[in-house]
Amino acid sequence: MATLAANTPEAAADAAPDAVVVRFAGDSGDGMQLTGGQFTLSTALAGNDLATFPDFPAEIRAPQGTLFGVSAFQINFGSREINTAGDAPDVLVAMNPAALKVNLPSLKPGGLVIIDTGEFSKRNLDKAKYDVSPLDDGSLAKWDVLAFDISALTIEAVKPYGLGNKDALRSKNMWTLGLALWMFDRPRGPIEDWLKAKFKSKPDIADANIAALNAGHAYGETAELSGPLKQLHIQPVESAPGLYRTITGAEAISLGLVAGAQLAELPLFFGGYPITPASAILHHLARLKEFGVTTFQAEDEIAAICAAIGASYAGQLGVTSSSGPGIALKTEAMGLAIMTELPLVIVNSQRGGPSTGLPTKTEQSDLYQAVYGRNGDAPMPVVSCSSPGDAFECAIEACRIAVKYMTPVMLLTDGYIANAAEPWMVPDPASYTPFPAKFLAEKNAGDTLLPYKRDTKGARPWIKPGTPGLMHRIGGIEKQVDTGHIDYAPDNHQAMTDARVNKVMGVDVPDQEVSLGDTSGKLVVVGWGSTFGPIRRAVDNSRRKGLDVSHVHVRHIWPLPKNLGALLHSYDNVLVPEMNTGQFKTVLRDQFLVDATPLTKTSGQPFAIAELEAAIGKYFDNVEGNEGGEVAVNDTQLPSPEAEI
């Protein structure tokens, strides 16, 4: 999403495509995520815009060959702006029968499927619940099929390196990658460099993998002569000038937190506990100690946030991170941070719920939890990021609000953003305005210390223990106005509740802008979080069809931008697509008395552009297939494009 403007509709299927969707699918042990990651890198280096969608099972090594053990990586890349990982693949690489069965239904009619016949044994067909091999029964007739024994070709290619069959087959993903690189005319150099670095201590393995890569590439050249395989050259996208790299959401959040702490002139303390898909942030930060980062892997989610609160109390920028179930455990401690008015950033990498739910699938269903999910009147700012690159900005914004207003802030991301990669224009840290933290150095009311005396923003002073003469006590019991002493008096609790609410509602949230379209009209599609890509593309496509529809994407979930109510009321209809059962819709209705219509989906898969376009089309009577004019969008769940699996 680094391009300057969208030029054409997503994944147009003309002769010289400006975008292609490729899905690599195999067993979870086949290294498909690695293949996808390296293909992404080569795509970025080729100057294409791109978006990816890694989709893998929760099991580390699910039983081999099974349907639930299939791991897939989808990439959409092109010579124009790319907003999503693409609805349906043009090319599917299926490394075994299970991968074929799970992924084939989403392949575009006429698309190309590349199949490793070496894995189509009776046993593997049984595991994939195929009675008859799909290679033999004509069921693949509506696609271009390139079926050959990749396994055998890989074994042959790496023979000189003396590996056993089992080890040799591990290079199968590199063979496949080599073929994919040939298909899209990509250089192999960066992958070779990466393999050499990765297997530095095992040069034989590096060489074997490179041999497999080269063999796959060479196969492409040969196959082109006789089969359905054609080499495609996707032109570089026209991007804003600058330095680029690829980035995932987890990396961007980690970097944003480091940047935020620097802008606040504070050391960063990160308390975490392993949980999917949030752990990657802990892993990234653990390697950034030179930036004054302390990472603490706590005994549980509660200890992780409590240690972060302790660090903030002692004068560092405390951060904790988790996913829904872990956030639930941290809830009481969030109340403590609200009561003691200490800065804290809580990152929630949302996943499907409730309970353990869908650990590796994405959902936006923790919005209520973020905005409302605490005991007592416990207001807390909530910021949500809409893409991997945006996660960097949002992490800085969360740090800024936390330090400026002495408050915990929740940063919402999700499993999709955390794992997805996109090209990112490397920002200049000097272009951000610093927000240095201030600590109280002496008594703030003559001879008296008032730990809860508020400034004009409603924030109390930050007082580090160890400061001479400023001893005081804080805690979770209701505080007396100004003094912070224990006080249960009715008037005092009223005053302190009001003070906490007013402080948070007064956070300086920028006015809401229209992401695409006009400031009024027939329909606005309101989104938040990782639905940005599909909504943007669907609205753009619809506008090209002449429909009066605009896109508003909200970053500040709490408090909401002050102009948002008036803005939404300026459209005739408000449609709110969400990967939950309608949570933001409820907040909008509540805050603005706006007739927001939900469009919900909880299949663990992101919205497809086509789904959104269809929903938008129902508001207009000149849309094909939309008989009888305006049709209310239904409240029911949209099916997943892969629901038939």
Partner: protein, 348 residues
């Protein structure tokens, strides 16, 4: 504790202007005074001292100490304190908790603060009951304790705080009781220990669990029931009249402790053990001694320092950062990058 400049203070300097809200006669008052008496002896600096507590009667403690104080949430004080210590290792941290806060809802955090060996003093006030919630049985209540939640007597087996601490890997374990004159000595030793120092303090809840420690924690007949341990000294006890005429010896065949009589002060002949505060095996036996047949082991039971958690964190941070430059611009541009040149249509 930490190396620090000694400050001259008096007991009064450590009192706040807040009204103390414990029940009249509560053992907490005696502990509060013992602590306020100890800190001037240590030369401690109120500005550099932090009391951190969880929830419960004991956890109101910070409000009455003229220091930095953080009254956190139920059971979580060890986790908060760990964050405070890692953020500023120079602070002198005292953790105040109870049997419910520290061993029930916060048992997990207690285990980990001890095994990590975060440098702080941990005072666990054990009154074998939930006081602030009006008298339910706690994880240290003896079997048969009648309470609102166990009207005909509790039936779950109690935890032994010092055994828990040792099992969690604590490097300092001590015992005292609220009205004991020797409590400040124990606190001084805990403060001198570099690392997590666990102190179980028997505390009399006069409302909900009155006098459960009466058998040993009263001046009368104390000698018969209190075994005060001192490093390098024989494990002797006895009442004031007859003198120290009993001792603790090791039954080598059964591999357990036994009480022996000491004639004419010849404890060596009686095989009485000399307390070695670094002998983990014997300390395990001492904390498990059933009271009744045996006296209550008190004082510094175990003191064998190991490197602290915060020193390990600092070391790891230095090692990890060694030779690396903290340049954010370079970090952001790390990995494989490409440059899009300015064109006529898209100037830089």
């Amino acid at each position: 504790m930490n190396e620090m400049t000694k400050i001259e203070t008096t007991l009064k300097d450590w009192e706040t202007d807040q009204e103390v809200r414990w029940c009249p006669g509560c053992g907490d008052y005696a502990i509060l005074k013992a602590v306020q008496r100890t800190l001037p002896q240590l030369g401690a600096d109120p500005s550099n001292t932090v009391f951190i507590s969880g929830i419960g009667c004991s956890s109101r403690f910070p409000y009455y100490m003229e220091t930095y104080g953080f009254h956190t949430i139920h059971g979580r004080a060890p986790a908060v304190a760990t964050g405070v210590k890692l953020a500023n290792p120079d602070l002198d941290i005292w953790l105040v908790t109870g049997d419910g806060d520290g061993l029930s809802i916060g048992g997990n955090h207690m285990m980990h603060v001890l095994r990590r060996n975060v440098n702080m003093q941990i005072m666990l006030f054990n009154n074998e009951i939930y006081g602030l919630t009006k008298g339910q049985s706690s994880p240290t209540s003896r079997i048969g304790t009648k309470s609102p939640s166990t009207p005909i007597g509790s039936y779950d087996r109690p935890a032994n705080p010092c055994a828990f601490a040792l099992g969690s890997g604590a490097r300092f374990v001590a015992r005292g009781f609220d009205i004991s004159k020797k409590l400040p000595e124990v606190l001084v030793a805990a403060h001198a220990h570099q690392g997590a120092a666990f102190i179980e303090i028997f505390q009399n809840c006069i409302v909900y669990n009155k006098d459960v420690f009466e058998a040993f924690a009263v001046p009368k007949g104390a000698g018969d029931h209190q075994l005060w341990l001192e490093h390098g000294e024989p494990m002797l006890f006895g009442d004031a009249k007859t003198g120290m005429d009993k001792g603790i010896a090791l039954d080598v065949d059964a591999l357990e402790l036994k009480v022996v009589d000491v004639a004419d002060g010849d404890w060596e002949a009686a095989g009485v053990l000399v307390h070695d505060q670094t002998n983990r095996t014997i300390v395990h036996m001492l904390v498990e001694m059933p009271f009744g047949p045996f006296p209550m082991a008190l004082g510094v039971l175990y003191d064998d320092p190991q490197p602290t958690f915060e020193s390990a964190v600092i070391e790891e941070r230095a090692k990890s950062a060694a030779g690396k430059e903290a340049n954010l611009a370079k970090l952001l541009a790390k990995g494989q990058t490409w440059t899009v040149e300015a064109t006529e249509g898209h100037p830089a």
